[in-house]
Amino acid sequence: MTSSRIGRRTVLTLLVAAPTLTVAGNLLDTPTADAVLPSLPAPADILDLGDVLILAGTPTAHMLVLRVDPDGTATLRLPRAEVGQGITTAAAMLVAEELDLPVERVRVELDDARPELLFNQLTGSSNTIRSVYGPIRNAAALARARLLAAAAARLRVPTGALTTRAGVITATDGRAARYGDLAAAAADPKLFVGLVTPKPERDFTVVGTPTSRIDARAMVTGKQRYTLDLDVPGALPTMVRRAPTINGTVRSVDNEAVVRAMPGVLALAVIPTGVAVVAETFGQALDAKEALAVTWNGGTVDDESDDTITAKLRAAAPGFGGPPLLGRAVDAEFDFAFVSHAPMETNSAVADVRADRAEVWAGLKSPINAQEGIAKALGLPVDKVTVHVTQGGGSFGRRLFADAALEAALVSRAVGRPVKLMWSRVDDMRHGRARAASHHKIRAVHALGNVVSFEHRVAGVETDFGHGVGDAITAEAAQLPVAGGLVFAQVVFLTTIKSPYNLGLTGQSLTEVPLKMHTGSWRSVYSANTRGAEEIVVDELARSMGRDPVAFRREFLKTDRQRAVLAKAATEGQWGRAMPAGFAQGIAFHEEYKSCVVYLVELDARDPADPRVVRATIAVDTGRVINPRGLESQLLGALTDGISTTLRAGLHIDRGLPLEGSYSQFHYARQKDSPTDVRIFTMPTTGTPGGAGELGVPAAVGAIANAYARATGRKPRRFPLNFPVDFDPFPR
């Protein structure tokens, strides 16, 4: 223990030392199939992005705060964001496990921005569980040891004669003490505790047990508070009128007096991103911002539309030239449209900015970065800016950026009062962030029944990493197993993209096309498109070699662990069973974050313009599973993301602005697009936890596209597959 602190209500608060996390150098099993040509390990095989971020966070991994209160509850302050992925529940389970306390008596609060944590307050890269598994167990084990030591002193028996169960310590003679009653004594810095080690994993009784979310009841009763549900004194509804094109700015407001006189309108201010209106209700703020007559300066991509962007991307990915000298080539080119993150809760934040300080509330996955950005924009010292992390209504990468928090702070300063800022759905889709469009050229060459090479050249519109991940990567750059001189994006690409197959000489590269648009990592960053496209080519390669897709994968996957997951999905999903005309199965594999997964879907494509996934079988190996119910939720969400982005959901860019501004236009899946039968199989749990939050998307994309190809006989090449402008766009 490095320090302890006794506060007003606080009785046992631990700031606990954790051991450094170590990263295994050799994460590959020895390839077993000898008929195939082994591929060299890619950088991501040796050290993946999650590892990089964990390493960057390691120096501060011990700075977790766990508190035991007199009421017998334990509270963990988690320096991460909860946006639906269930990490607060998993963290509570880890505490409960080590502390021998029921999960219901463990609370998890999201930490404010804590600059001293450096790179260890970032929620991304599916690394939360990977990064906190050890530190939380250590913290809770130490808390339990201190409670035991306090009980031993009070009951005058050696600690060896004590047992802990459900928050009570009992001596062999039957005398007992409750944690709550020991909390003060346990905080005494003079108390001696020896070396503490967490429970051996074979003794786990909570971890690995299907557990419901700790906040589920609050969610189903309407009590769960999101940013705009907070009651910050004096904070008033605020909305912003935005430009007709991305990054356009205000030249003049032409009817200010008229709008100021509208019912409920309280203040109006021009900010860099538009014109902010503060009103008594959001309904009035919305009416007023719509009523504004504004003359705009142009934006940064006014001349860009889908066709110009696609042309740039296609030109940026070099082609392969003529046919290969040896063997037969399977060539394929793919285009993926921009995709909105579109979390249900639009961009929102509450801000109270005074002359000498600021306080901000928002769902933030990178709050330290937010704090720095806000301090800089306001000209305040960083320690005068308090950033509270609120639970978010979805993220999918979106809340890595503090756009709304920064904007709210600027409005609050401009109007001189606290504000509650909400983006309209239209603005969230048009001026929010999106997954960058990308183009892919893939060539696989086979000869004499073997695959001799597999090359994948990706061109993407630049993805913005200016949210703190870039800084964390820079801090660890010296340790990366890749050549120097790479930009962040290439580092991210190389630490996330790898082929799970032995496909001979394998190469994957990324070229970025810089366009001043609002982009950001979208669940699985490059993998959804890049690995999704590769899984389509694997099917086409199998076909070209006269092989069944599952048999081909079984032969060319690198490890037995991968093959076991494939076999599980193929068996449980009855691969190869007869399907009616217009229906087909599709399968795909993905490995990342030390985890692997297979999706096997059945698609009803009798109407190719409106296909539906009717059944899905998913098999997964994520090492040690903390909460199987949470894991299944993540895989289910990834399936829905795959259905949406493969079949119908994307953004059309038209002269500098997305046309889509509503879920009636951006066709994210609804209930009628979802399968009525989903079964998920988890491989036996072993070792340490792998990541799971983003794992499923690339395999879901590949499986659905492959099913579409088999059902319709059409090669899937442009995503989403059905992408008409089937709506009247909102006025700009």
Binding site: A218, R629, G637
Partner: protein
């Protein structure tokens, strides 16, 4: 400014607001009833779904003057004190919620469906348009079927 009197979750309330103010903002901004969520404001996402005289309605497009004299139920009014409605109970059993933001609307839509159709088919459930961006649809479907069982006393 006109006054509008109606009941919210069994309590009589009066709000002073323009007649055309959407009920969603009367609830959230004037009455502090934050269970119904904004997701679009144009009757597309259904995140705000609540009940008006026992039937599903979307307060984001219903002017407050239209609910005067009527009875509004939001997610906060669904349980009977600590006793959850069977649909809420089923939601907990199936651990449906991810971020939870769409779930008040999903639950209120499911309650309305089960009132009309006590044993809904998959096609009936498909007709629920509420968006869940976290993609929890399959668990929503299972929870509706489970709630139907609970309500039949199974």
């Amino acid at each position: 400014m006109p006054q509008h009197t109606f009941t919210v979750n069994g309590k009589t309330v009066t709000v002073e607001a323009p007649a055309d103010l959407p009920t969603l903002w009367a609830l959230r901004d004037k009455l502090g009833v934050t269970g119904p969520k904004y997701g679009c404001g144009i009757d597309v996402c259904k995140a705000c779904t609540s009940h008006l005289d026992g039937e599903a309605f979307n307060p984001c497009v219903t002017p407050v003057s239209e609910v005067a004299g009527r009875s509004v139920t939001t997610i906060e009014g669904l349980a009977d004190g600590e006793l959850l409605h069977p649909v809420q109970q089923a939601w907990l059993e199936q651990d449906v919620a991810q971020c939870g933001y769409c779930q008040p609307g999903q639950i209120m839509a499911a309650v309305a469906l089960l009132r009309r159709t006590p044993t809904p088919t998959d096609a009936d459930i498909d007709a629920i348009e509420n968006v869940c961006r976290c993609g929890s649809y399959f668990r929503v479907r299972q929870a509706i079927k489970r709630a139907a069982e609970l309500m039949r006393g199974a």
